[in-house]
């Protein structure tokens, strides 16, 4: 049987959703037989591959780099999953949204720094005006809210997709 290509992506989030994904215990063995993890913080690949079956995106879209990534990922993915509250609602990263970016950077990198004061400009992507949910930028197929979503829910959805079932509206959902 051809293995299903799965990718995971970590944008503006705390990696808690990835931890929850990994928290699946023994289920990882049977899942590992059916999927190929082709991209993400858990594997080495540098470039997001073409023709990925399922991509789980953690985190809000917060920088220009995040935005470029999600646009490319959308083009190359069949089923895109918004994983966790940051990707679904903006959540904690969006708490900066009422503060102008310049003021925010000044507060953290200048006023709040003990040494090497100065806003970094090289090799870091420019922040967008606001951190916003994934679905406001690209079409999202499935939303899994939660901070983080329970491991069982994530695995359940992946297994449903592997079985060719569309995870339906009866999915148990909870913000927070």
């Amino acid at each position: 049987m051809k293995k299903v290509k799965v990718a995971t992506v970590w944008l503006d989030g705390c990696s808690g959703c990835h931890m929850s994904l990994l928290d699946m215990d023994a289920a990882i063995i049977s899942l590992g037989r059916k999927i190929d993890l082709v991209y993400g913080p858990l594997v080495d690949a540098q470039e997001f591959p073409e023709d990925v079956d399922v991509t789980l995106v953690e985190g809000a879209v917060s920088s220009q780099d995040d935005l470029n990534k999600v646009q490319k990922i959308r083009q190359r993915t069949n089923i895109l999953i918004s994983l966790g509250d940051c990707a679904v609602t903006g959540n904690v990263p969006a708490m900066r949204n009422s503060i102008p970016v310049q003021k925010l950077l000044q507060r953290i990198y200048v006023d709040g720094a003990d040494e090497k004061k100065g806003v970094p400009s090289e090799r870091v992507p420019a922040l967008l005006k606001q951190a916003r949910p994934l679905r406001e930028f690209v079409k999202v197929d499935i939303c899994l809210p939660g901070c983080p979503p329970p491991s069982k829910t994530i695995v359940g959805v992946i297994n449903d997709l592997l079985d060719g079932k569309k995870p339906n509206g009866n999915l148990k959902v909870k913000f927070g």
């Binding site: 918004s82 509250d85 679904v88 609602t89 903006g90 959540n91 904690v92 969006a94 708490m95 949204n97 009422s98 606001q130 916003r132 949910p133 679905r135 406001e136 999202v140 939303c143 899994l144 809210p145 901070c147 509206g169 009866n170 999915l171 148990k172 959902v173 909870k174 913000f175 927070g176």
Partner: protein, 237 residues
């Protein structure tokens, strides 16, 4: 004079209720569930949240069960795909209007808005988040008002005016600018009419009003204490 009994149907079932009751009161008295957010047992009903919308046969429009009086022969539907759609819209509007960051909220896990969203199967909202800049009033020695979490249900206003008799809370401005204010827009901590009883805190369905000193998930409201007080005093509304 004893209240007149009248007959209505709720979801097809014939029930007898008292004239003057609202659809919600008649439903509750007969063990029928209609979801609510702004309504609180024993306080006047204001119809602020639109979660309790029901269908009444013979009419195209939907009616808030908490403020619509029953009429002889009325036939009410409490659940339908159309109602679920409208209830979802109401909850989604509440979620996008202010900043509901459940993950870091004192009420996470004990919040009526969060629970209602789950019950309606809301896993994402269709509209763009508003992300407004809102203030937090920490001036009271024991309590906090966080406008980020307020859904303008006015339970705090009503419980303070009708049960405590202090009428410290009010609503100011309109629409998206509407805010809960304490005593003529004075800081809560400086409000002389506040008796610090805490009824508003425990009547509040969300994390907007909370006791100080609790961390994320720790604020559990004693809503039953508020409603049982109403009943023990025999409040007539």
């Amino acid at each position: 004079m004893p209240q007149k009994k009248i007959s209505i149907r709720i979801d097809g079932e014939l029930i007898s209720a008292l004239e003057g009751q609202t659809i919600l009161q008649a439903a509750k008295a007969n063990g029928k569930y209609i979801p609510t957010l702004c309504d609180l047992d024993g306080l006047t009903s204001v119809g602020a949240c639109r979660i309790c919308l029901v269908e009444v046969s013979g009419s195209e429009r939907l009616f808030p069960a908490c403020t619509t009086p029953i009429q002889e022969g009325m036939s009410v539907t409490t659940n339908s795909p159309k109602l679920t759609r409208y209830r979802r819209i109401s909850v989604e509007l509440l979620l996008i209007e202010r900043n509901h960051v459940c993950a870091v909220c004192v009420s996470n896990g004990h919040c009526e808005l969060q629970t209602m969203a789950s019950a309606l199967g809301i896993g994402t909202v269709g509209l763009a988040y508003n992300f407004p800049k809102l203030s937090i009033d920490m001036s009271h020695p024991r309590f906090v008002l966080d406008h980020n979490r307020c859904i303008l249900c006015t339970r705090c206003v009503r419980v303070c005016a009708e049960l405590e008799g202090a009428h410290m809370w009010e609503l100011t401005s309109r629409g998206i600018h509407a805010r809960i204010v304490s005593e003529m827009n004075e800081q809560w901590g400086k409000a002389t009419s506040c008796t610090s009883c805490g009824k508003c805190v425990h009547a509040c369905p969300t994390g907007a009003l909370a006791e100080k000193g609790w961390a994320v998930e720790e604020m559990v409201k004693k809503i039953d204490a508020v409603t049982s007080l109403v009943h023990r005093r025999g409040a007539q509304v």
